[in-house]
């Protein structure tokens, strides 16, 4: 594969192929940062891939009390699904089980999308007719009495169908430790990009997949071309100096956010250099025929 070189790191002349998704988000606040994070991590747990989890979700940003509607520490989470119906179902279920239940929390819309999802309007009935509605500045909030006081929840949150899922970077290095070091640096940089999340554990996935399988009925299976232990026995995409591959998958509210996140990730990985970090950066695609969004690595270089 043709390659470019930046600071000794080889960069494939390839592209990441991404797909349209429905995206929504919440601002979760709590009396302390600790409990805002607990609620956010619980709600976005088991949300790595739409294939098995129904949605992809993660923490976008931590917010200081100055930046939240109620002046308490907060966390902005984003959730993506293949349809607005799936996004609504996942959001309301996760909100009901993971945030309504979490001590001290309150919930607000993260952005004004072209559509909206009823969340407070769906959860209010938990209040068993003791819930109170308040309309402030054109928005409706529900005060639902719970055992630690009141759960405050905005009636509706924004939803956009202009989201993009599946931006990715394949980080290739000599061994697990150096590859992980580079990938962690990439994830850390992506955390600073607004409107984008990396939904896999710690932002990283090691089980990249290809379309299809030798088994009937399996839509996806291990990406053998990038498995280092199969380098000699498959049509491998790996060079002789690559012993480990890790992937960062990125979902964003806009195509621009995904591009910005990939750009930030590449910059951080390249900055680490090939000696202590990755030797090569690639991207996963399906030949460009399945997803309408293509992010060419050569356009995102530092």
């Amino acid at each position: 594969m043709p390659q470019l070189i930046r600071k000794g790191v080889r960069i494939d002349e390839s592209f990441a192929e991404a797909f349209p998704m429905s995206g929504t988000g919440l601002i979760i606040t709590a009396p302390t940062r600790k409990w805002a994070l607990i609620a956010a991590h619980t709600m976005t747990g088991f949300a790595t891939s739409v294939i098995g989890c129904g949605c992809e979700a993660g923490v976008d940003l931590e917010l200081s009390p100055r930046d939240t509607p109620d002046g308490r520490p907060g966390v902005r989470i984003l959730l993506f699904a293949m349809s607005s119906k799936d996004a609504e179902k996942q959001l309301v279920n996760r909100l009901g089980q993971c945030v309504l239940t979490c001590p001290g929390t309150a919930v607000f819309s993260a952005f004004d999308g072209e559509f909206s999802i009823k969340v407070g309007d769906a959860l209010r009935q938990f209040g068993d007719k003791w819930q109170i509605s308040k309309a402030l500045d054109g928005k409706r909030y529900w005060r639902i009495p719970v055992m630690d006081g009141e759960f405050l929840c905005e009636a509706k949150v924004g939803l956009t169908k202009k989201s993009v899922g599946g931006g990715n970077l394949l980080v290739m290095g000599e061994d697990w430790a150096s590859t992980m070091r580079a990938t962690e640096a990439g994830v850390e940089a992506i955390k600073g990009v607004r409107d984008a999340i990396a939904p896999f554990p710690g932002g990283i996935v090691r089980s990249g997949s290809k379309v299809g399988s030798q088994y009937k009925g399996m839509g996806a299976s291990t990406n053998d071309a990038y498995c280092p232990t199969l380098r000699g026995v498959t049509a491998s995409a790996l060079d002789a100096d690559i012993g480990c591959v890790l992937e960062i998958v990125i979902d964003g509210l806009t195509s621009e956010a995904v591009a910005n996140a990939m750009r930030a990730g590449i910059k951080a990985i390249v900055a680490l250099g090939p000696k202590h970090g990755a030797k090569r950066i690639g991207a996963g695609n399906y030949g460009g025929k399945l997803g309408p969004f293509h992010y060419h690595l050569k356009d995102l270089l530092p």
Binding site: G71, R72, W130, I132, S133, K134, L136, D137, R143, L152
Partner: protein, 269 residues
């Protein structure tokens, strides 16, 4: 753009119906046409030109220089995006059934101000007479949206049958504040009297001073309510005094248990 100005020539000799002078009704009209508009309410004809000297300007913002307690129904059915400013007093039914926009009165207003207001922001720098935001006889609900801020005091039964929206009274409130309250929020930041929140269904009344409530209000304890923190932030520019009350720990009184009983009165704990 300069506002369209109505300057009072003389005190009117009869009550006037100014509901015909909302900005949307003046759009596209010439000064002569506006001067010819009938605003009298008796058999003696009175036109705009008899009472006001006009100065052309953008009718999206109307400015009244001089007021009178005979100016009735000023800003009635006001639409979103328009503004009315009055330097002087105003009569009955200010901003009645307004759908949006903003009205400011630097003076006192008569009875039934903001009656059935559905979305306008109405600020009264002076005092308001009885039945602020209340329904007229025979109507089932009072104000159904918007915000009313009174810097002075209000008369009796302010917020009667309030359905939605916010009323802030920075001065004293007359008897039976928030009577037959359906929902919405009323702030009274000075003295109150009579049966506060009488037959309140599910509305919120915030009092800045402790008050001896009737037996149909039940103590629900003192709490730091998160919604109050959000409310305080939202009210910051409209009334710093109201925002200050909300930032405190609040005693919650549930009621009126004589009726539906899902409402509340909040007082500093």
């Amino acid at each position: 753009m300069k506002p369209f100005i109505f300057t009072l020539r003389q005190e009117p000799n009869q009550r006037l119906d100014l509901s015909v002078l909302t900005p949307d009704k003046l759009l596209g009209r010439t000064l002569k046409e506006i001067e010819a508009i009938e605003i009298g309410t008796t058999r003696l004809p009175v036109t705009v030109g008899d009472i006001f000297k006009l100065r052309a300007g953008d009718v999206h913002a109307l400015h009244y220089e001089g007021g009178s307690e005979r100016f009735d129904r000023l800003g009635a059915k006001l639409l979103p995006g328009y503004e009315i400013h009055v330097e002087g007093d105003v009569g009955a039914e200010l901003g009645r059934s307004a759908l949006g926009g903003s009205i400011t009165v630097v003076g006192d207003v008569g009875v039934y101000a903001a009656s059935q207001n559905a979305g306008a922001r109405i600020e009264i720098v002076g005092h308001a007479d009885d039945f602020l935001a209340a329904p007229l006889a025979g109507e089932l609900t009072g104000m159904s949206g918007g915000k009313v801020i009174v810097r002075g005091s209000v008369g009796v039964r302010c917020g009667d049958r309030l359905r939605r929206g916010i009323i802030i009274v920075e001065g004293d409130a007359g008897e039976d504040l928030g009577s037959r309250l359906i929902a919405g929020t009323i702030f009274a930041l000075h003295a109150v009297e009579g049966r506060v929140g009488y037959l309140n269904k599910r509305g919120t009344i915030v009092l800045a001073q402790p008050y001896e409530l009737g037996p149909t209000y039940v103590d629900c304890g003192a709490h730091h309510l998160n919604f109050a923190r959000l409310f305080a932030k939202s009210l910051g520019e409209d009334s710093r005094k109201a925002a200050t009350v909300l930032k405190q720990k609040l005693q919650r009184w549930g009621g009126d248990t004589a009726v539906y009983g899902k409402g509340e009165i909040l007082t500093p704990a």
